[in-house]
Amino acid sequence: MMAGLSREKTANIVLALLLLGVPLAAVAAGEPFYVTLATRIVILALAAIGLNIALGLGGLVSFGHAAFFGLGGYVAGILATHAFNGETVLFGLPSTTSMPVIWLVAVVLCGLVALPIGAISLRTSGVYFIMITLAFAQMIYYFAVSWPDYGGEDGLSLYVRNTFPGVNTAQPLPYFLVCLGVLAAAVCLFWLLRGSRFGAALEAARQNTTRLSAVGIAPFNIKLVAFVISAMVTGLAGALFADLNRFVSPSMASWQMSGELIVLIILGGKGRLFGPIAGAIVYVLFEFALGGITERWQFFLGLMLLGVVLFARGGLLGLVAGRARHD
């Protein structure tokens, strides 16, 4: 049993070193494209870590987290576009190209949107919860599609990447390091939450809601707070993703994106600290490697996913490290 734990830790350390080492090597070898690929991995992992708080710890199968990913993206896109044009945003609020400010706005906005969505969705559970979160995400998707001021269906381009104090974000490697820093912070947040009193209550809510009520902790409040925190982290990832691509479109909020986020978690291992990172690495590399060979890579992704669901239920880290322990 102890061997199982240390094997997961070893796998985590290997993943962390790879994530830092490969882009550095790529720059040294003059292949900056791989840095961009690694940045994509880091940001998707961040989004999935956000979802993992709700899904992995709380057992809340949100099929609508792309909504927050998209919202975060639009915050970056909208603030930056107005700043570029020297305009203010709604109601005379100042626009900005400063990443920390954009992140803060994205996180707060996602929290504010997640609060009512969570409060309504959490009145239900099980299949209802899955369908309702999916429906609310679709609502935000269609809103983005039908609002022509910010590009509608065509999306919104950012003319230059936003700025971070003391960092030249236009270069791939510095931007990668900024994103990696945020990811590291999110991993710490997840680790702290999981070990805390809140985490204990949240994990108990996943396993047995009645038990949690019977000791006097209201499951609804615990789940709602988890849902909101989870949306905030995913929203932050959305803001970073918009800056990576210098483009944001409704597809960031689409149902496919929501599905992909769940897939990242399941590929890596649900509820595990590095699960989303392992999942994002495999997913992006799979897309990159197979996408180079065949246009039909999603067909094979589907087959692989089906295989994982039917035969490897603990995800990849589950295969490496054995069953998760909660003692």
Partner: protein, 249 residues
């Protein structure tokens, strides 16, 4: 002011045409074990659910420590000091025995909205939890996931969790169910001592245990209480003998 800590007055609950609870009134007094017995389908579980807050009565009132509990959900009633155990073990299966009890200790201490301090090394949680496991004799199994405990051990763990809440009253739903003779005997001795800490409303099928423990017994048949009294009174009650105990008793 009586010394009743829990007071049910004329509780009614119907499911369609079925009157599951038909005008039940009973109370639980300080220092006593009040056993609730009745044949299968008499409505014991429905009544327990209404007391603990998972079902809402159609009419009638439930007062706990003098306060009306209408409108309070299960969690709120537990916070006010109603410690319940379940007929079918209801635990967090992936958590170890210790973490199951720690959850109750944490709930008793107040806020679960503490996001950063790790619980694993938090002695204000682990020590009281361990003490409760020792009281029920589970200390050697503290690190074992609840799902891997034996049936009897899970029953013990249920009791440890209820204890850890430091409740003002216990609501124990068939704690002896599925225990062997030795287990029942041990638990009987344990509950006997527990009544001085807080009174117990005990739903139980094991008649030996009920007769050994109860200060008072209420007999529930078809949703109504047909008799309440001491062990001797219930044993002698002809209506109870006819409706429930049968000729064998």
């Amino acid at each position: 002011m009586t010394d009743a800590i829990l007071e049910l007055t004329d509780i009614r609950k119907s499911f369609g045409a079925l009157k599951a609870t038909d005008g039940v009134s009973l109370d639980l007094r300080v220092g006593e074990i009040h056993a609730l017995i009745g044949p299968n389908g008499a409505g014991k579980s429905t009544l327990i659910h209404q007391i603990s807050g998972s079902l809402k009565p159609d009419s009638g009132s439930i007062r706990f420590q003098g306060q009306d509990m209408a409108g309070l959900d299960m969690a709120a009633r537990a916070r006010r000091g109603l410690g319940r155990s379940f007929q079918i073990s209801s635990l967090a299966p992936e958590f170890s025995a210790l973490r199951n009890v720690m959850l109750a200790v944490q709930a008793r201490q107040g806020s679960s909205f503490r996001f950063f301090r790790p619980v694993a090394g938090d002695r204000s949680l682990t020590e009281p939890a361990m003490a409760m496991l020792e009281r029920v004799g589970l200390q050697d199994r503290a690190r074992v996931p609840a799902a891997e405990l034996s049936h009897g051990e899970r029953r013990q763990l249920e009791v440890a969790i209820a204890l850890a809440l430091g409740p003002k009253a216990f609501l124990l739903d068939e704690p002896m169910a599925g225990l062997g003779p030795d287990g029942s005997k041990r638990l009987t001795g344990f509950l006997d001592a527990l009544r001085s800490e807080a009174p117990i409303l005990l739903v139980e099928h094991d008649m030996d245990a009920v007769f050994a423990l109860a200060d008072r017994i209420s007999v529930l048949v078809y949703g109504s209480i047909i008799a309440t009294g001491t062990v001797d009174e219930i044993r002698a009650n002809p209506e109870v003998r006819r409706a429930y105990l049968g000729d064998a008793a």
